[in-house]
C-alpha cells in the first residue's frame, strides 16, 4: 500500500481493517509462455507487494507449474489479490495457504562469508548450530547452504554479518499444505 493511496478520499477506511498481514499464496498455472509475466504484471500494475516469488514446473505431463508468492497487505487486499489472480485465464487455482495457517514453508539460501583466523571458527560453529552445510570452502571463504523457514535464514544472515558476510542468494519460499489434503 503506498502512502498516497491511503490518503485519498476515494480510498475507504470504512469496513476495512488496518492490519497488515503476510500471506503465502500457492498458484497453479498452465506452463505456457507469458504466464509468469501476467502474474508479476498484475502485482506491479495494481500496486500489490511481492516479498518473494518462486516458480517451477510440478507436473510435466499436464504442463502445470506452481508459483508460490509471499505477499503482504490488509486482509481485504490479499483477498482481492486472490480474486485478481483467478481472473488470469491460464491460472487453474489460487490457494491462500495462510488462511487456515496449516502449511509448511521452506527456503534455500547460499551464504558467502569471508574471513581469516578466529572468525572462521566462529562461522563454522554458528553454521553447525543452524544445521547449515558447507558447500564450498577456500582458505579465506565459506559458502553455507541453509534450508528453513525465511525467519531462520534471516537470523543466520544477521549472525554472519559481523563475521564477514559478503553475499547471499535465496530461492524464495516454497510452501505446501499440511496433512492429507491438497491445495
Amino acid at each position: 500500500m503506498n502512502a498516497q493511496a491511503a490518503l485519498s478520499p476515494y480510498s475507504s477506511s470504512a469496513g476495512k481493517t488496518a492490519r497488515h498481514e503476510t500471506h503465502v499464496l500457492s498458484v497453479l498455472v498452465d506452463n505456457e509462455p507469458g504466464v509468469l509475466a501476467r502474474v508479476v504484471g498484475l502485482f506491479s500494475g495494481r500496486g500489490y507487494n511481492i516479498e518473494s516469488l518462486t516458480v517451477a514446473e510440478v507436473a510435466h505431463l499436464q504442463g502445470l507449474s506452481r508459483i508460490t508468492v509471499v505477499t503482504s497487505g490488509a486482509p481485504e487486499t490479499i483477498e482481492q489479490i486472490s480474486h485478481q489472480l483467478e481472473r488470469i485465464v491460464p491460472i487453474h487455482k489460487v490457494t491462500d495457504l495462510s488462511l487456515d495457517n496449516a502449511f509448511v514453508q521452506r527456503e534455500l539460501a547460499m551464504i558467502k562469508v569471508r574471513g581469516k583466523g578466529e572468525s572462521r571458527t566462529e562461522a563454522l560453529r554458528l553454521a553447525e548450530a543452524f544445521r547449515a552445510r558447507v558447500i564450498d570452502a577456500t582458505t579465506e571463504s565459506f559458502i553455507f547452504e541453509l534450508t528453513g523457514a525465511p525467519k531462520k535464514i534471516d537470523d543466520f544472515v544477521e549472525l554472519m554479518r559481523p563475521i564477514g558476510l559478503v553475499e547471499v542468494s535465496r530461492t524464495g519460499v516454497a510452501a505446501i499444505t499440511r496433512g492429507p489434503l491438497t491445495m
Binding site: 485519498s8 482481492q80 485465464v89 491460472i91
Partner: protein, 586 residues
C-alpha cells in the same frame, strides 16, 4: 472433419465459423497472407478503417450494439500499438473483441525487425487474454478459444498475435465443437442460498434502491427484461451507471436517472440515504461512489457480479452474489414470485415521497435561452425528434457525453455506445460506423464535441467508403468543455490549452467528403435543422454551435460525497468548492 489449409485460411475460416460478418482492419506487411485469404471469399466483409484505433472502436460499437463479438485485424508493430487504446477501452468497459495482429516471422522475433513490437507484452495489461501463436498446430484451437474467452464470463478483448510464417504454414483445421477452455469456466449460475438471502433482504427493505450497470446489458436482452419485471414486482426505485443506460427504460416510472458525478440529485441522494442497495452488474467505480468513506453509510449492500474480483474491491458489501446478471435476476424474480414476497407498502410510500422531493429539485434543469442554443436543449430536441425511430447513440468523451446521458432517454439496452471506463475521446465516430454497419436501417448518431471528433476524424473516409449514413451531431462550444469546466473549478479559470483553436469549417469538411454539412446556431431553427439531418439518407456532420460557457451540472465535486452535489442553481464561486485533497483527484 478436419481439412488441410494455411494459417491465413484458418483465420478466415474460423472467423466465418464464429459467425463474424464484419472485420474491421487495416492491412500491412505482416498480415498480407490473411488479406489474401479474405480476397477469396465474401462471407466476412472487411471494413477498411483509416487508423487502427478506429478499427478497435468500430468493433466495440458493433459488439455493444449487437451483443456479438467484434473482430479486428491489424498488422504488426504500429498496427498493433495503434489498436491498444481501443483494446484498453474494451477491457475497461467489458466489450467482447477479438483482435488478430500480424507479427514478424518467428525466426525474426526478438531481433528488432522492421515493424516488430512485443505485441503480447504490450497488450498483456489491456486484454483479457492474449496469445502468440508459434505453431500452426495450435492456431485452430487458439482461434476458437479466443472467441470463447472474449464472450464468456465478464467479456473483454483478446489478442491473437500470428507471425507471418505461421500464416503461410499448412495444417489441419477443425471447426469449433463446443469450444471451451480447459480451465476458464466462469460461473454463471449463482449459489441459491445467496439468492434466498438477497430476496429476504429485499423483502425487508424500507428504503431500497437498485443500482445497475453495464453487466445487465452484457448479460443480454433477457437480463433487461427480467430487471424490468423485478422493478415492477418490487416497486423499487432504480438508477444506473453510464454503461447501464437502457437496461431499464428512461421513461419508466421508477427511473431516477443516471447516478454518479454528473448523475441526478434524486439518484445520488437515494443512494446515500437508502437502507438497501442492490448493485446489479456495476462495479462501484470512483465516478459513481464519490468520497468512499461517506458512500451510502447506512445501507446494507448486495453486489451481483460475474467477476469475483469486482466484489469488495472499492466498497465492502454485505452479500456477494457471484453469477451472470440474467441468471441471478431470473432466480430472484422466480423466488420473489414463488414465495409471494411483498415489500412494506407504507415504508416504500414514504421512501417514494422523499424521492419525489429530491426529484422536484429538477437537477438536470438549465437556464433556457432564446438566442443561444444550450447544449442540453440540443440533446433534448434530438431526443424528441428521434425517439420514435430505431435510434442508436454513440458519443465521444466530455461534457457532451454527460449531457447525452442526462437528457437522452434510452428505452432499450444496446442502443447506447459510449466510452465509460477509459474515457476515450475519438471513440464515437468509429463506434457509430461499427454500429451502423451492424444495423444498416437504423438511425445512428454520434453525439460529439468539436474537440473529440477531431481525434478520429479520419474515419469519415471509412463512413464514406462503406456508405454508413452516420449522423455526427457536434455540440460545438469551441472548448474542450470538460477540461475548461475543471479549470474553472480547480485552476482559477486559467484555461490553459483548452480552447479549440484553428477548428475546421465542419460544414465544408463534410462537403469535402461528399457528405452533408449542416450548421445551426439559432434555437428557433434547431428542430428544422435536426429534422433535415434525420431525413438526409447519407452521412451528415451537424455543427451545432452552443453556449460556450455552459457547465455540466449537477456535479459531485471530486472528493465529495453523494449528498454534497452542486446543483444547476448553484450561485457561489465554483473555484471554492473543492478542497486541496479533492484537487489531487481526477
Amino acid at each position: 472433419m478436419s481439412k488441410i489449409m494455411t494459417g491465413a485460411e484458418m483465420v478466415v475460416q474460423a472467423l466465418q465459423d464464429q459467425g463474424v460478418t464484419h472485420l474491421f482492419g487495416y492491412p500491412g506487411g505482416a498480415v498480407l497472407p490473411i488479406y489474401d485469404a479474405l480476397f477469396h471469399q465474401d462471407k466476412v466483409q472487411h471494413v477498411l478503417v483509416r487508423h487502427e484505433q478506429g478499427a478497435a472502436h468500430a468493433a466495440e460499437g458493433f459488439a455493444r450494439s449487437t451483443g456479438k463479438v467484434g473482430a479486428v485485424l491489424v498488422t504488426s508493430g504500429p498496427g498493433a500499438t495503434n489498436a491498444i487504446t481501443g483494446l484498453t477501452d474494451a477491457l475497461m468497459d467489458s466489450i467482447p473483441v477479438v483482435c488478430i495482429t500480424g507479427q514478424v516471422p518467428t525466426h525474426l522475433i526478438g531481433s528488432d525487425a522492421f515493424q516488430e513490437c512485443d505485441t503480447v507484452g504490450l497488450t498483456r495489461h489491456c486484454t483479457k487474454h492474449n496469445y502468440l501463436v508459434r505453431r500452426i498446430e495450435d492456431l485452430p484451437r487458439i482461434l476458437h478459444e479466443a472467441f470463447y474467452i472474449a464472450r464468456s464470463g465478464r467479456p473483454g478483448p483478446v489478442v491473437i498475435d500470428i507471425p507471418k510464417d505461421v500464416q503461410f504454414a499448412s495444417g489441419p483445421y477443425a471447426p469449433p465443437k463446443n469450444a471451451q477452455h480447459k480451465t476458464y469456466h466462469p460461473r454463471v449460475k449463482a449459489d441459491i442460498g445467496k439468492i434466498k438471502q438477497a430476496v429476504a433482504m429485499m423483502a425487508k427493505a424500507k428504503k431500497p434502491i437498485l443500482y445497475t450497470g453495464g453487466g445487465v446489458v452484457n448479460a443480454g436482452p433477457t437480463a433487461s427484461t427480467l430487471l424490468r419485471e423485478l422493478v415492477q414486482l418490487t416497486n423499487f426505485p432504480i438508477t444506473s451507471t453510464l454503461m447501464g443506460l437502457g437496461a431499464y427504460p428512461g421513461s419508466g416510472p421508477n427511473w431516477l436517472g443516471m447516478l454518479g458525478m454528473h448523475g441526478s440529485y434524486e439518484a445520488n441522494n437515494a443512494m446515500h440515504d437508502c437502507d438497501l442497495m442492490v448493485c446489479v452488474g456495476a462495479r462501484f467505480d470512483d465516478r459513481i461512489t464519490g468520497r468512499l468513506d461517506a458512500f451510502s453509510p447506512g445501507s446494507k449492500k448486495i453486489h451481483i457480479d460475474i467477476d469475483p474480483s469486482s466484489i469488495n474491491k472499492n466498497v465492502m458489501v454485505d452479500l456477494a452474489v457471484v453469477g451472470d446478471c440474467a441468471h441471478v435476476l431470473e432466480d430472484i424474480v422466480r423466488l420473489w414470485r414463488a414465495e409471494a414476497h411483498q415489500t412494506d407498502p407504507k415504508a416504500l410510500k414514504a421512501w417514494w415521497a422523499q424521492i419525489d422531493k429530491w426529484r422536484a429539485r429538477k437537477s438536470f434543469g438549465y437556464k433556457k435561452s432564446d438566442t443561444t442554443i444550450k447544449p442540453q436543449y440540443a440533446v433534448e430536441r434530438l431526443y424528441e425528434l428521434t425517439k420514435d425511430r430505431k435510434t442508436y447513440i454513440t458519443t465521444e468523451v466530455g461534457q457532451h457525453q454527460m449531457w447525452a446521458a442526462q437528457h437522452y432517454k434510452f428505452e432499450e439496452p444496446n442502443r447506447w455506445m459510449t466510452s465509460g471506463g477509459l474515457g476515450t475521446m475519438g471513440y464515437g465516430l468509429p463506434a457509430a460506423i461499427g454500429t451502423q454497419l451492424a444495423h444498416p436501417d437504423a438511425l445512428v448518431i454520434d453525439i460529439a464535441g468539436e474537440a473529440s471528433i477531431l481525434m478520429n476524424i479520419q474515419e469519415l473516409s471509412t463512413a464514406k467508403q462503406f456508405l454508413a449514413p452516420v449522423k455526427i451531431f457536434i455540440l460545438n462550444n469551441e472548448y474542450m468543455g470538460m477540461v475548461r469546466q475543471w479549470q474553472e473549478l480547480l485552476h482559477g479559470g486559467r484555461y490553459s490549452s483548452s480552447y479549440s483553436e484553428a477548428l475546421p469549417d465542419f460544414v465544408k469538411l463534410a462537403e469535402a467528403y461528399g457528405m452533408k454539412g449542416i450548421r445551426c446556431s439559432d434555437p428557433k431553427n434547431l428542430d428544422a435543422a435536426i429534422q433535415e439531418m434525420i431525413d438526409h439518407p447519407g452521412a451528415v456532420i451537424f455543427d451545432c454551435l452552443v453556449d460556450k460557457a455552459e457547465n455540466c451540472l449537477p456535479m459531485i465535486p471530486s472528493g465529495k460525497a453523494h449528498n454534497d452535489m452542486i446543483l444547476p442553481d448553484f450561485e457561489e464561486d465554483l473555484g471554492k468548492v473543492i478542497d486541496d485533497k479533492g484537487k489531487m483527484l481526477v
